[in-house]
Symmetry: C2
Subunit: 183 residues, 2 copies
């Protein structure tokens, strides 16, 4: 599966594309940062984020988009910009029918380092190792976006099994036609 | 001037269009609410908000869009959805080149009632009076959207004078060519 990870932000929005399946070596297809000037009007900054995300979706055609879940209790000074940038990323994906998954920062850290309290350096080191890169991606927002994509690939099997179970349950509820088709 | 006011929200996003100038009776051109189902996925809700705002922009062609400024310290449980809906409204306007203005709730209340601490009923009563309506618009989000538009029309003259002064100052700074053109 191919996943675009997005670490949302207005000044720096980290983006990273990873391909692979759980239990196999992963491949990085791209990493970068969408930047908008702090002195620009908010509306124009959101348009710039939209254009940047659209370019990444056009170029890499991900099957899933994984966005960091924003909490209102953290980083009060920047949380509004983060929430607004994440809204734009989710909007771009949903408009194309691409499923959007939200993962918390501690879920992401736990997925790639084994600890939900790992620091940025530790996340960067593990992203470098897992994707077999020469050096940690810079800035940290870019590394975090890759970590989000990795987290989604590794957590996805459980989520997919759940979705399959729900789908099968729904199919059995309308048993006659389902049996008819498989007979 | 024609202004679309937006009281952002995911469940109910209030929208109202007012036309007029400061010091003259105002006219309501439309009022309503863009709703999205609480059980839908966040990405799909943002797409629904986008489609709703786009319809209002298409139909009324406002010259300005006035959006309530969201603060992270208020209403922690709903503030993220409010921030995300406001991002979509600002994005839709900025994409069309329509100037976006943000007004705080107390600026809006002070503009239409004279008090920054007025309650919803007071705002609804003044919106009804100022727009010569038969009854207060329901729900309150719709009335708040109209109040935002009224606030923008009434505050705009001062902002416009400031923008004019800045523009003149900039023109004088490049005096020779400016003089040359007016000579």
């Amino acid at each position: 599966m191919r996943v675009l990870g997005v670490d949302p932000g207005l000044t720096r929005c980290g983006v990273g594309v990873v391909e692979g399946v759980a239990g196999r070596p992963l491949t990085m297809l791209g990493v970068g940062v969408v930047r908008t000037p702090a002195e620009a009007e908010l509306g124009h900054r959101l348009v710039a984020v939209e254009q940047g995300i659209e370019q990444w979706l056009d170029e890499h055609r991900p099957e899933f988009v994984a966005v960091e879940r924003v909490f209102s209790q953290h980083n009060v000074s920047t949380v509004m910009g983060t929430a607004q940038a994440s809204a734009v990323a989710m909007l771009c994906a949903a408009r194309r029918g691409i499923p959007v998954a939200l993962h918390t920062p501690s879920e992401v850290k736990a997925a790639v380092t084994g600890s939900g309290r790992a620091d940025k350096a530790q996340v960067g080191a593990m992203v470098t190792r897992l994707l077999r890169l020469d050096a940690p991606p810079r800035p940290a927002d870019a590394a975090d976006a890759l970590a989000l994509a990795i987290c989604h690939i590794w957590r996805a099997p459980a989520q997919n099994r759940l979705q399959q179970a729900v789908a099968q349950h729904t199919a059995r509820a309308s048993a006659p036609s389902w049996k008819g088709r498989t007979a």
